[in-house]
């Protein structure tokens, strides 16, 4: 026996240590040196799965049925192998939408339904509250055993369990409900929970080592002696192949596998408190390893206790404490008690945070907001106050439950009953993550039916077995209707009550979920959320910031920015609201923008972090005029989307063209640059160069430089015209005079090559309204082309100007080699020079494309007729009256 003050002092010292650790970790988190951003800490913190029910209950279970304690841990081991697939998706979704509880998650999937959120919260609350009571009972009975006191016999104000409960409420508030935005992680709380996981593991292993090697000569001796006892030998097997309750083993494994994802505290630690999804890789084996280690000594302790005390003489659930006490090791007993305390407190703390978030967001806040609808006052402090109140209330209710029903069957068996309650979330949650067809009505129907059957087949029997309902109800059914007997519903017998309940409830749940969902097509909002959930892994947002990821597909809304600001201020506080809006405006790069769908959406996401997505949805809907989405709207949106896709494709091809153009330009620029550099280097390396040679090189450099600057000018010109930035100085021009002027300008070049030029033009042509310099540029370009390709000495070039009522046509014909048919189309493209390579150095390859751009700018067209060997004829036509068109 230990003295009560000593045990209490140790307990409170341990809790104070938790405060210290949490405080330290919170500080580290604020400095940006997070303790919990670590895969090992994350995996340890998931050890919250092992509660006092594990710590004491596993030994009890093993003492009565051998290996049957194991499925509860094999299930999570298997479940964790899916972490990288399933959990990662849940984390992505939750982070993107600031989802902070499992009720929020499910409600959000089905169009942010408030009814669904409330139902999930209710199920969680009913399922979890007794579980919290069980933890308090474990603490109380451990305390009683250790100190030899009569336990809960005294008046309530002398019960130290009450004070432990209140201290836990304090801890939970201090480290779990200090901020409003619960998508900010609870660094301190997570660090404390990870530490608790370590403590309970070490304490349990210490007791195991003590039993195996301190009391006996090793596990071999325990098992050998147990095998020799006819009452203990069956605990080492499964009752032989034929008697093995395969269905029950399977059901327990499945149940535990679902619970490890669906218990509110598991969702809190796995999803909400996750700092980095890469930690899931470590988790997928480290947490199973933790489970294996904490279970390694369960069987030896159970058998050792049975051997020591004799079976049926002592409560097997407290072997962990009673064995060290019986062997006069009070220190170890105290350590074991602290281990049990850590298992119980860890569960209580996290469950309280998780359930309080749900209750305040999905039950309390909607009611409070409805009660004071229309009053515009600031309620930003309300969610936090509500959450804290709920935490205290939850712990006090748990304590009350334990005081009233402490010894009842209903409490002892509650562990698995709780598991079965939260397992009802599975169809709606996992179905919603992988099936787009699930609807709100389907989820509601499934959950309601599953919950009702769970209550009928598990909860009511447990109450009846506690003596609070007539036993005849179990044996003969309500009003003597045998078909409705809770544990043999519709005559289904041959299963234990848990498997029986799980079978019926999940069958009805999943069946109704699918059937009702298929009864009608999802609404616009449901379909939009379905898309966001099912396709969450395909989002562009590979980084996991909350801004990333797809915007809602379906969202239309408009509202005044004043209303939005008031709404934000109401829930987030004036300062936060101002910061949020200013932030948004800055990111948009503008003044406080008009509220568009994106602002509304962001505000809703922020509010969701504070008051839950369903309440946020309702709050935003109250100020933003929102039209319900008809199927037509969705179709139109899809149309818009495909339009956007087409535009995107177009952009992509333009992008490729631009790339091609750039590489051509660089190539063209490099050619003259290379020769300039080559000649310059030759002259530098040979100072004694012949002056004539030197002069020739300098001439070449000058010529190449000219070509280079011409090229640069033309590229700029081209870019200007293409982008629509070119200036067009339109004036009235006389085309005949312009043609004559152009021929005159190029006459020297033709003469030098012995080419005769003939001009055929009517005496009078109507005036044209265009940019004189640009048209001249086109003419000069065609003429210089002709000069290049007409044969030297004997070349003939004809320039013909014609005018009709509609347009003016100008043709330049030469008697050169002509353009081969396969090249005719290409000459108007950038950097595609016609003719053979010998002619290349003289041109830039941009003349014809620019000319064509100019002609097309005035609504005209440009062409080339050529028969190889008989010369080429370039021509263009300009309409007299043309609307200027952008090229």
């Amino acid at each position: 026996m230990l003295s009560t003050p000593l045990v209490l002092a140790a307990s409170f010292a341990y809790l104070l240590l938790l405060f210290g650790i949490a405080h330290y970790a919170d500080g580290r988190g604020r400095q940006g040196r997070s303790l919990i951003n670590n895969a090992w800490v994350y995996a340890l913190s998931i050890g919250v799965y092992c509660t006092a029910w594990t710590y004491y209950g596993s030994v009890g279970r093993a003492a009565s049925s051998g290996l049957w304690f194991l499925p509860i841990y094999l299930g999570p081991t298997l479940g964790m192998l899916l972490a990288w697939t399933v959990l990662r998706k849940m984390i992505r979704i939750a982070r993107r939408d600031r989802i902070t509880s499992i009720a929020d998650f499910i409600a959000s999937r089905y169009g942010k339904s408030r009814a669904l959120a409330a139902l999930v919260t209710l199920i969680a609350l009913v399922g979890i509250l007794p579980y919290v009571a069980l933890q308090l009972k474990a603490i109380a009975s451990g305390l009683a055993l250790l100190t030899g006191s009569p336990g809960t016999a005294g008046p309530w104000w002398q019960d130290s369990t009450l004070y432990i409960a209140l201290l836990l409420a304090g801890f939970t508030i201090a480290f779990g409900a200090r901020h409003l935005d619960s998508s900010e992680r609870h660094e301190g709380m997570v660090a404390a929970i990870a530490f608790e996981s370590l403590v309970k593991l070490l304490a349990f292993v210490a007791v195991g080592v003590f039993v195996c090697w301190g009391m006996f000569a090793g596990p071999g001796e325990i098992f050998t002696r147990a095998a020799d006892r006819t009452d203990l030998a069956p605990l080492l097997g499964l009752g032989g192949g034929e008697h093995f309750a395969a269905a029950q083993w399977f059901a327990l494994t499945l149940l535990a596998m679902l619970s490890v994802f669906l218990l509110p505290r598991q969702f809190q630690m796995l999803v909400v408190e996750n700092t980095d999804e890469r930690h899931l890789k470590r988790l997928s084996w480290a947490f199973p390893l933790y489970l294996l280690l904490i279970n390694l000594f369960v069987l030896p302790i159970a058998l050792g206790g049975l051997l020591h005390f004799g079976s049926g003489r002592a409560n097997a659930e407290t072997f962990v404490l009673s064995l060290p006490l019986a062997l006069d090791s009070p220190g170890l007993a105290l350590l074991a008690f602290i281990g049990g305390l850590s298992a119980a407190t860890g569960m209580i703390i996290v469950e309280a945070i998780a359930v309080a978030t749900m209750v305040s967001n999905d039950l309390a806040m909607p009611l409070l907001l409805r009660a004071q609808r229309g009053s515009p006052r600031d309620v930003s402090a309300l969610p936090l106050a509500v959450r804290r109140t709920v935490i205290v209330a939850l712990l006090l209710l748990g304590y009350l439950y334990f005081r009233v029903a402490g010894e009842a069957y209903a409490l002892v068996s509650i562990g698995l009953i709780s598991f079965a309650a939260v397992a009802q979330f599975a169809p709606a949650l996992f179905g919603g993550m992988y099936w787009k067809g699930g609807t709100r009505a389907g989820a509601l129907a499934g959950l309601a039916a599953g919950f009702a059957l769970w209550a009928w087949t598990l909860l009511l029997p447990s109450i009846a077995k506690s003596g609070w309902l007539p036993a005849a109800f179990l044996a003969h059914g309500p009003f003597g209707i045998a078909l409705l007997r809770p544990e043999q519903l519709f005559g289904l017998a041959g299963f234990d009550n848990l498997t029986h309940a799980l079978l019926w409830s999940l069958l009805a749940n999943a069946g109704l979920y699918v059937a009702v969902s298929l009864a009608r097509a999802p609404t616009g909002r449901e379909a939009a959320q379905a898309l966001r959930f099912v396709d969450a892994m395909h989002d562009a947002g590979h980084d996991v910031g909350h801004d990333s990821g797809a915007r809602p597909v379906a969202w239309r809304g408009a509202g005044g920015s004043d209303e939005l600001r008031a709404l934000a201020a109401r829930f987030l506080g004036v300062d936060s609201a101002r910061r949020l809006l200013a932030d948004f405006a800055r990111r948009r790069g503008g003044s406080p923008a008009a509220p568009d769908a994106e602002l509304v959406n962001q505000l809703e996401t922020q509010l969701a972090g504070a008051i839950g997505s369903a309440s946020a949805r309702a709050a935003v809907a109250s100020v933003v005029e929102e039209e319900t989405l008809a199927p037509d709207d969705v179709l139109r949106m899809l149309d818009e989307t495909s339009e956007v896709r087409a535009l995107n494709r177009q952009l992509a091809s333009l992008d490729r063209l631009k790339d091609d153009f750039m590489s051509s330009v660089t190539h063209e620029l490099r050619t003259p640059l290379t020769s300039i550099r080559a000649f310059a280097e030759l002259m530098r390396d040979d100072p004694q160069m012949d002056p004539a040679q030197r002069q020739h090189f300098v001439d070449l450099i000058v010529a190449e430089s000219e070509r280079l600057s011409r090229l640069v000018n033309q590229v700029l010109d081209m870019a200007k015209i293409e982008s629509g930035h070119a200036e067009w100085r339109n004036e009235t021009i006389d085309l005949a005079a312009l043609v004559a002027h152009a021929v005159e300008t190029t006459a020297a070049g033709f003469q030098a090559r012995g080419i005769t030029v003939t001009v055929e033009a009517p005496a009078q042509v109507p005036a044209l309204h265009a940019d004189r310099d640009r048209i001249l540029q086109v003419l000069l370009n065609l003429l210089s082309n002709a000069a290049k390709f007409a044969p030297q000495d004997g070349g003939r070039v004809t320039v013909r100007l014609q005018a009709d009522a509609r347009e003016a046509r100008i043709e330049v014909r030469d008697n050169g080699p002509g353009v081969p048919p396969e090249q005719q189309r290409l000459v108007f493209e950038k950097f595609r020079q016609g003719g053979d390579a010998r002619a290349r150095p003289q041109g830039t390859g941009l003349g014809l494309p620019i000319s064509r751009q100019i002609v097309e700018h005035y609504g005209g067209r440009m062409w080339l007729h050529s028969t190889p060997g008989e010369g080429a004829c370039f021509g263009f036509a300009l309409p007299w009256h043309a609307e200027e068109t952008k090229p």
């Binding site: 298997l78 596990p219 499964l238 890789k281 084996w285 390893l289 294996l292």
Partner: protein, 74 residues
């Protein structure tokens, strides 16, 4: 523009390996394979069935650790 297609691949190697291990674990730690070990035999003083269950469990964890930490990404 030219974003990689890698992201939208439905099942990567790591995920497939873990899924396969998941299936193997379900089979190994359930009826009827579990019943294979259900004999009153002791190895080094330790009964066969618990030894097999814990051994299979440990093997599952070791394989998971090997797969998850082997550096395969995504």
């Amino acid at each position: 523009m030219r974003s990689s297609k890698r992201r939208s691949q439905p099942a990567t190697l790591l995920r497939q390996r873990l899924l396969a291990l998941f299936a193997a674990g379900w089979l190994a730690l359930n009826f009827p394979l579990l019943a294979v070990w259900d004999h009153p035999v002791r190895i080094g003083g330790l009964p066969l069935l618990p030894l097999a269950v814990f051994g299979g469990w440990a093997l599952l964890i070791a394989l998971a650790a090997w797969i998850a930490e082997s550096g395969a990404d995504d």
